[in-house]
Symmetry: D3
Subunit: 171 residues, 6 copies
């Protein structure tokens, strides 16, 4: 299977924040943002895998800035690394400010999807070939995140988490 | 401020999985589940804080089992630890199987909320006093998760993450 | 078939009142509340019957207090009596007031569901064994309500509605 | 205030039954139908009152026939009687069968609305002047239903419920 | 196949404008109105064709007046002409003003639907027999609109668009 | 005001077709597509105008191919011409076919938006400077469409529609 670049899976979901999607502070509900990011990341994963994909996990979504009702919200999702049948997807989220004539980064999130066949069995996906500097950083960090996830769930022994240990021993 | 127990914030959200909330495999969409968990966790945080709360981050949501359309889905959310103005909330998710006459754990997730006043400024919340064995385990693990989050975002040096380091040095 | 207690079917649906579910007075729409109660009552009926259930009728839902947008709404539904293949479900509805640190009863409603097989034919459900004082009162009243419903729809002669007649003759 | 006829408040809500509104038998969810009827009845009440109205209670909604997904559903709502600031609204529900080239009555329901000012205080509405035979029957029955509701909620003594008592004594 | 009148397909969709359907000016979103008109026109087409129908095109929808949240919106749709398997549907849209005690025309739109069998193949529909003066005007104009649509899409040569040319040559 | 290029307003809305948005043939409802196109076109108009915009009209939306449930749908909207305070927006719609590994054009539509201030009064927008061959074609055609719209609504005499007349006289 030929490796693919992150830009081949780039998915852009631009949409309004409607009044029915807000919390009592008149800002976008966290849960609605999680759902939109899941759809954008799922489409990016499907473009990379060219198969059905299902959400496997969500990691490290940080809500840094609130998004007022009426905003235009832009989600850009790209595959950041592939591992066998699973893919890590990175989503960057901006809101556009009409008044300030610029866009502001409000959030980012990392999702993991698995490619499956019609019976739900995992199937292999192409490897990822990062191109830009940021894509390479995220590609490297994805391995640490994967080891961390395996250690925290008890499926990997800490001493085997080579990439993760460097973080602590090297300091 | 008097400490509170996890059971004081217990929030139960029982609802159907409707046809409009499913993926191409006729199972609950990951994004819809994330949104429901966010609402249940937000209400648990609000009950603990007795103030407005907003989603700060989502960590470690794992989708272990798919949830077919028509299922009854039960989310139980409780505060697992409080840190100043932020709260970690643990959500356990089950689906009920009419045929098998039992309920099956399908998912769990950890969300962080922050209590704010009407201008959106953080305000302190009560400490958490865990009671059951599981609540105590989750309370202890919450500190490691918090350090991990601070290290990964560059707001804490790895050598200061005392709880986290034990995980690696002790092995 | 072994009788069941009301608490075996207790179903709790806790959720926010979102801006998309309000009337021109910024309170929860009656229709949205009816839909939520229907889902909670349906799940309670399904837990009692361990079979598919469909709504048969709605009786005596009284909207006593309005529920402002942003409220946390709690619906608690339990089977109050079973008659062959049909079940009467009682739903109590509260809203939580963050400011007043208490919960307020806003509504109650009574729904009837019928258990059916996959072709939609009625099938028998377990009898109900009430336990608390309130459960016993509701169990007794359910018979009067059933007779009333039969009389009003012309399927029972008033003189045969023994329980109902007492209401009038005894006074 | 000049009396009005039922036809002045006639409200027709024709719409599809969409896949997102169905139960596990692929028929319209009871709760969704209740919500649609509430909106149609609310508009009929508002047309009669020419003021804001809020749902006060729901009585005697019977689900006689299931409504398959894809059906065209027609709700016709008219005021059946007015009492001071409250109005009883009668809704008849049909589904249209493309194949059988006819429409079938599937349901009917009775709602009560109250007219209020912008602070939510009740305000008087015009009296109702029924015209057709069916409108007159429903107008008469509305008084029995009102007495019944008052008796059941303890706000009227059974011996004062003159219309209701006839139902039992005369037989 | 016997011709039908426009009134045989008259479809009325009366519903509220809810807060979840509004733009930043607190008026009904254009897209939501387009969707409601599509459903009303689709039902009118289905009543005329007595078969499944799908949207073929939308022409000349003009948003003349904004519709504030909380309004009652009335859509009346009728077939304006039939051509083989396609039907032109005319939708008139009003909002009701409680304060001004009248209804105001806010919008009108023209949709084209095609009748299809279960495999999606076009099937013939009855001809239309207009009755009122307005129905006759719309029936005549429909032919000009059809020619215009064919010319603009390159499927008819301008010199063959006899009805359309009159518009320019006669002036 | 400096002119802008179409690519400065390019808006991409990529999202799934969910089961709750389908017609009886299990394809995307026309009305849902119209609503999504309205949101994408509205954001493109807002990016061009840097002000609030409202839908003024919809012209010539043709539904050429059905879009099955589960598809990924991509809408790309760009301003095609500006006239004072109004903007014509062109939306191209594709669906992605996982199996056929390509994307297919399914639809296109033309919307008109008007830029307004917070009181709803029209305000001027920048002129458009087309760049590509297709953008230039659409820019020219936009004037004919505008004249056509004015003629059909009686706001321009046919003999003054210079661009439009060429279409007929030159043939």
């Amino acid at each position: 299977m030929k490796a693919k670049t992150p830009s081949e899976s780039l998915t852009i979901l631009t949409d309004y924040v409607l009044p029915g999607e807000t919390n009592p502070l008149d800002s976008l509900f966290g849960g609605e943002l999680l759902a939109r990011m899941d759809r954008a990341c799922g489409i990016a994963a499907q473009r990379h895998a060219e198969n059905i994909v299902v959400t496997a996990s969500v990691n490290h979504v940080a809500f840094n800035k609130s998004v007022p009702v009426g905003s235009v919200l832009v989600i850009e999702a790209k595959v950041s690394r592939a591992f066998g049948s699973s893919m890590e997807i990175y989503a960057d989220v901006w809101r556009e400010c009409m008044e300030e004539k610029k866009r502001v980064k409000v959030n980012e999130g990392i999702y993991t999807f698995v490619a499956v066949d019609k019976e739900g069995n995992p199937i292999r996906v192409p490897a990822l070939q990062p191109e830009t500097e940021l894509e390479k950083q995220r590609y490297d960090a994805a391995l640490r995140r994967k080891q961390l996830s395996l250690v925290l769930s008890g499926r990997m022994k800490p001493e085997e988490a080579t990439e993760l240990k460097k973080l602590f021993y090297d300091n």
